[in-house]
């Protein structure tokens, strides 16, 4: 296709100004009139609008944590170059963070009814929120294996609550009636919510990954088919060429033998 040339004065700048609607009224009217009669400008304008709409697909990832600035006095601005302190997990000692993680993990496993067994069929891992423990399991006394970690967990939970209560009381100077204690049911409910959310997210993520893999496999399959097709074509061509050569050679040999 032969592209026509547009010689409108200052055409590229005007096209951009028109595209972004940053053009004064007189120029807009004149350029509109020009566009209606200029195929090249009409096509280019449509193409650039298409580019702009495609660009909107590019969204940056949602920031997880960017900044956490806290009220700072003008004095500190003048004297310090340290970033303002963040109110976050960084305020909690490392051991407390680890303990909290272990606590959540332990409680999660407890709530999730995680059941690991080994029988003739091999290892079995079961989980389930709604699974009712069997009567046998209920009837059994606490096993020596499970008892120590439960005791540890309880003491850890108690210690953590004490620490957090102390920190909370210091930081906010709230009377002892503050909501520092949390019932087990509430704790379980919160952990369950967190785990539910996590599961939902993982399911969506898995589905996305699977869809991507399927798409990739299909694309690869298509590419392989095209490759195979090309290879077959090449083989057919070369086979035909070989046959022709052999035929010519046989003909030549026949001619030579007839002459002799």
């Amino acid at each position: 296709m032969i592209e026509t040339i547009c010689t409108y004065d200052g055409r590229d700048d005007l096209l951009i100004a028109y595209l972004y609607d940053e053009i004064d009224t007189a120029d807009r009217a004149a350029f509109s009139a020009h566009i209606s009669g200029c195929g090249r400008c009409t096509r280019e304008l449509a193409a650039l609008r298409g580019v702009r709409s495609t660009l909107w697909a590019w969204a940056p990832p949602e920031p997880r944590v960017i900044t956490d600035y806290h009220p700072v006095s003008s004095d500190s601005r003048a004297t310090t170059h340290e970033p303002p302190a963040g109110r976050s997990w960084h305020d909690v000692p490392a051991w407390a963070q680890v303990a909290a993680a272990l606590l959540v993990l332990g409680v999660s496993l407890g709530i999730a009814n995680v059941d690991v067994r080994r029988d003739n069929a091999g290892w079995t891992l079961r989980t389930g929120w709604s699974r009712v423990p069997s009567q046998n399991a209920v009837a059994l006394p606490a096993t020596p294996v499970s008892a120590p970690w439960r005791a540890d967990l309880t003491s850890l939970e108690r210690q953590l609550r004490t620490e957090l209560q102390a920190m909370s009381a210091t930081a906010r100077a709230v009377p002892a009636a503050a909501p520092a204690t949390m019932s087990d049911a509430e704790l379980q409910r919160r952990v369950r919510t967190i785990i539910d959310e996590s599961e939902r997210r993982q399911e969506r993520e898995l589905a996305l990954r699977v869809a991507e893999v399927v798409k990739d496999v299909n694309a690869q399959r298509q590419a392989d088919l095209v490759k195979i097709d090309r290879s077959l074509g090449f083989i057919q061509t070369s086979t035909y060429g070989e046959q022709m050569k052999q035929r010519e050679l046989v003909n030549y040999l026949l001619k030579v033998s007839q002459k002799q």
């Binding site: 702009r52 969204a59 920031p63 003008s74 869809a211």
Partner: protein
């Protein structure tokens, strides 16, 4: 960090004070005003940094450093330009420094674990998996096309398309004539048009 109480405070401030007023109050010693400015502008600044340098972690660092520098220099801000333009300028300079320091062309690489998934979870819970995959592919295509652009064209397009600055604001920000901004936009879009057409084919 985006807790409800803070969000409520922000919205209350957002309704009440302009950027310039918050700057003045911050200089005057109001401890909360600068926080409101940060909360108001951190996402746009992060988005700018991410699109220019293309790495989430580094974009976050640039974003933090931008506000830190702004905070330190707040006393010197006289309101000749808009606060947002001033902030954009700091961020762009930091991005340029980053590109020079790393000595590499900014190539956007969306981290594997992010993104459309999380965005959709927050904004469009009904988006199908196919849509997400398609969107992610399109994102990669746009990223690759943008990576082909020279820095000046890329910056002009980012500021225009995603931050909706006027030609004059971009010219003031990057320090070039207004006509140069238009030329950069035209040339940049033309390159993108070619690159996107290649991807489609």
């Amino acid at each position: 960090m985006f807790g409800s109480s803070r969000a409520e405070k922000v919205s209350a401030y957002s309704m009440t004070w302009s950027d310039e007023e918050l700057v003045a109050r911050s200089i005057g010693g109001d401890p909360d005003s600068f926080n409101q400015l940060v909360l108001r502008w951190e996402r746009p600044i992060y988005a700018l940094a991410y699109r220019v340098i293309g790495r989430e972690e580094d974009a976050r660092d640039v974003c933090q450093e931008t506000f830190l520098r702004a905070f330190r220099a707040l006393n010197g801000f006289r309101g000749q330009a808009k606060f947002s333009s001033w902030l954009y300028r700091i961020a762009l300079n930091l991005c340029r420094d980053w590109v020079r320091r790393e000595r590499r062309t900014p190539v956007v690489q969306a981290p594997d674990d992010l993104d459309a998934l999380e965005l959709s979870a927050v904004r469009e819970p009904t988006t199908s998996i196919d849509d997400l995959v398609a969107r992610r592919e399109l994102t990669h295509i746009v990223e690759r096309a943008m990576a082909k652009l020279p820095e000046d064209q890329r910056t002009a397009i980012i500021l225009k398309e995603y931050h909706e600055l006027t030609f004059q604001e971009i010219a003031d920000l990057v320090g070039c004539p207004l006509s140069t901004v238009k030329t950069r936009l035209y040339q940049g879009l033309a390159v993108l048009r070619r690159e996107l057409a290649k991807s489609e084919s």
